[in-house]
Symmetry: C2
Subunit: 485 residues, 2 copies
């Protein structure tokens, strides 16, 4: 194992190297695809299980809809087409044949209508809702699915932007606007809670400007997280879709007075991108730092054996592991033949929250040396104090959140002049809060000038004399500008 | 809700109607695809969670490999191509464009090499194993993935045969034949255990004949279950792949003496087909009957309110539900406005193991009326005996297994003459055990004559004078013939 590039020297190189060295993922054979390796997958799986619990507890049901969507479905919602239809995988044939040693596509198997590999499932789900929704008794419908989706990408980055990715997509149908809007907001809360309390990543919550909105949405809510290079990562979105998809698919319901009414929709999703967020929000110079709640291994025990081995030490290590497991902690002993130095490095890169080092000295003295991954501090406790490992894990969980929160506030600036805005974006980076007139032209100017976009609209609550930072016209919104992934 | 066709009158119609009425699944818009509705999905999810536990406990790690496979990969393993390559979804383009109101496939986006939507993942996984396996230290690799796969099907049946289905596929790499063979057998044990102890479905375990083997396998082990129409359902398979895929992808490892050696493989999978098995192995005239371990709802409480309601009854119902939940049972109260008769029917079709009926009489007498779905028997207990509900669930779990086991043995016949074999297959159906000479010509004759195939080879342990039931030549194997799904 080689040392990795320092994060402070080249963030993007550091990111790629951490993913390789921590065994998280690799590129697949088809351009833009990703192989998620076991350690990376268990991060995803832990996030999935936690989020799924909250989704189900809040009254949603999991289901599964087809991977394939008829091309004609994508034509039905005009704005949706605009934003989504362009880059996607098109299935045109359904059979191959063997020609000598090679495999050929059978021209006779050409499909009558091309089939699209889902880039998202609004259209196929609303085609089913059309059958399921007749009366007010059928509403609300609150569905979620865990699935893979495909958006053909040319410039890909593991976890952040891949042609195929894993996600959950929620789709709900409601009898009125208020309920649908509330649903979209409730989901943002669930996402925020997941990020802050499970992943220890503070997020900034707001609405998207029109140009950044989801194709087909009337309102998109977003959670934006700050990575350690001070760029923003859109970490999850929740959309209020109004009656757009209901109308496109002819879905209506009969209210209690037997009158036909339109159906209101939401959709919302988070993806394997969250693993990218986890890496970039907490990682340090030497690798990953995982919050204990999401860590596949919370405590790794590294025994340091003398040349001739030691039964005593072996027994002691076993005792520690059993005890930690009894405490319901995810503990593992590294019994490989590698050197202690190699093992320390190995588990540091993988971000395991606590490393326990035990040698002859510890076994004889009934002591345990703990090394925290977040601060790299070492402390020695006696075996009888082993219960404090759980406390230390809680501390690490909290400390990572506080560190990220401090980093976020240290790199969030309020700008009052356009020169300030540009200066901060160009030189320091981070989030810049400013007033905006709501005009897409001024939004575009910032993007063209310094590459920052409006990450979200924080509020419309401004002093009456507030001026837009770009145009000096009366401002409508308080927004966050930042460069982003 | 209408009554369903009786199982005994038209099994296949019954099957389709149960799926609709129990809200399990529907056909999707693209031919051959399936929408798994929440109740059907929770059956799948419960099975998935149970199986995943056993897969992980036995040392396998979950990972995720891409949906897309380069066409050239499928050419690499010759037998694999034969068996698999024919019917699959071929992606040829990566972009659409808007032309007025319609969406068109952009000819400029034609892919250099066509991409296949995975029908199974051996090829893409072994292309990665090529990078991961160098030395004996890298072995074994024991990977599993939960994923969707696509095999373009023209004649589809919900859960049993759909173009896209969900499954787990395990893929392992080993340093020698013995270890790989043992792995394939260990997995069969895990599958058998899942079916018998979790799904209450007895299975017949054996090897596949050459003609029924997985494309690219040297040996395929199978578990075969008997449905209530006496047909066999192949419920899960585990393959010993020898060095076929290792060789096709140029994977070798250096042993401890620094010599290159070939790598041995297994693969194994079970799919959403298991939900079909569950329906057809236990369902009766009036609908599903679910074993309690897999049932999304184990106990449904149906309150029978008097015209003017009753606070007393409402309180009593709540007490019962709380108590059942405290016992860690999955309990639900049906608070809908439907009539009690409608509700009984509703939950019977859905196979909920126990229905609790409570009216004024029960509330006053502190009693509870239990109705078992498996036997339709009613018993009344006092509230203080509510703990016995858990026992009754165990009984139902066991009883469904015993019922299915009795059905299996009642419909398993040993045949000694070809006339007997044909007579049983044509008239009674079920599994027919007979001796076979191992020749694919005699196997084919049975298929042509009466539509039965060799479901599995039970053993090679025959009397030395055993004759093949078809040819009268010396027999090599004891096999099971049956019609199948």
């Amino acid at each position: 194992m080689s040392k990795i590039t320092k994060q402070s020297e080249n963030f993007s190189k550091w990111y790629n190297e951490v993913i390789v060295q921590a065994d998280l993922a690799e590129h697949g054979p088809v351009k833009g695809t990703m192989v998620i390796k076991p350690y990376g997958y268990s991060l995803w799986n832990n996030i999935k299980n936690e989020l799924d619990k909250h989704i189900v507890e809040s009254g949603h049901e999991n289901a599964y809809f087809p991977l394939f969507i008829p091309k004609s479905f994508l034509e039905k919602e005009a704005k949706h087409v605009e934003g989504f239809a362009k880059e996607c995988a098109v299935v045109t044939h359904s059979r191959l044949y063997v020609d000598g040693e090679s495999l050929e596509v059978d021209p006779a198997s050409k499909l009558e209508e091309e089939v699209i590999v889902r880039p998202t499932s609004e259209t196929v789900i609303w085609s089913m809702f059309k059958k399921w929704i007749n009366s007010y008794r059928d509403l609300p419908i609150k569905i979620n699915q865990w699935a893979n989706v495909v958006r053909w990408e040319m410039r890909t980055r593991l976890f952040l932007r891949t042609s195929e990715f894993l996600w959950q997509e929620g789709h709900t149908a409601h009898a009125n606007k208020e309920e649908a809007m509330q649903e979209a907001l409730d989901i943002v809360q669930i996402y925020q809670n997941l990020f802050e309390n499970f992943l220890s990543i503070p997020v900034t919550v707001g609405r998207k400007s029109e140009s950044e909105r989801f194709a087909g949405a009337e309102e998109t809510f977003t959670i934006e997280a700050m990575m350690r290079d001070k760029k923003a990562l859109q970490a999850g979105t929740s959309h209020y879709l109004g009656t757009n998809f209901g109308e496109a698919f002819g879905v209506k319901f009969q209210n209690q007075d037997n009158k036909e009414e339109p159906v209101y929709a939401t959709s919302w999703g988070v993806s394997t991108r969250m693993v990218g967020a986890l890496i970039m929000a907490h990682g340090d110079e030497i690798g990953l730092r995982l919050p204990p709640k999401v860590a596949p291994i919370q405590v790794v025990i590294v025994p340091i054996y003398p040349k001739n081995g030691s039964d005593n030490l072996e027994k002691y290590v076993k005792e520690i592991e059993v005890k930690l497991t009894q405490m319901s902690l995810r503990a593992k002993t590294d019994v490989s033949e590698n050197s202690p130095g190699f093992k320390f490095n190995h588990w540091e890169i993988r971000g395991v929250p606590i490393r326990i080092e035990v040698g002859i000295k510890e076994a004889e003295g009934n002591s345990i040396t703990l090394c925290r991954r977040d601060t790299l501090e070492k402390t020695t406790i006696s075996f009888s104090e082993i219960g404090s490992v759980a406390e230390m894990l809680n501390n690490i969980q909290e400390n990572l959140f506080l560190e990220a929160k401090t980093f976020l506030s240290q790199n969030t600036t309020e700008a009052h002049t356009y020169a300030d805005l540009k200066d901060v974006v160009d030189n320091n980076g981070g989030f810049v809060i400013a007033a905006w007139d709501g005009d897409s032209a001024s939004e575009k100017k910032v993007k063209d000038d310094c590459g920052a976009t409006i990450r979200c609209i924080l509020s419309d609550d401004l002093d009456s004399d507030s001026k837009c930072i770009v145009t000096n016209n009366p401002a409508k919104h308080k927004v966050v500008f930042a460069k982003s992934y």
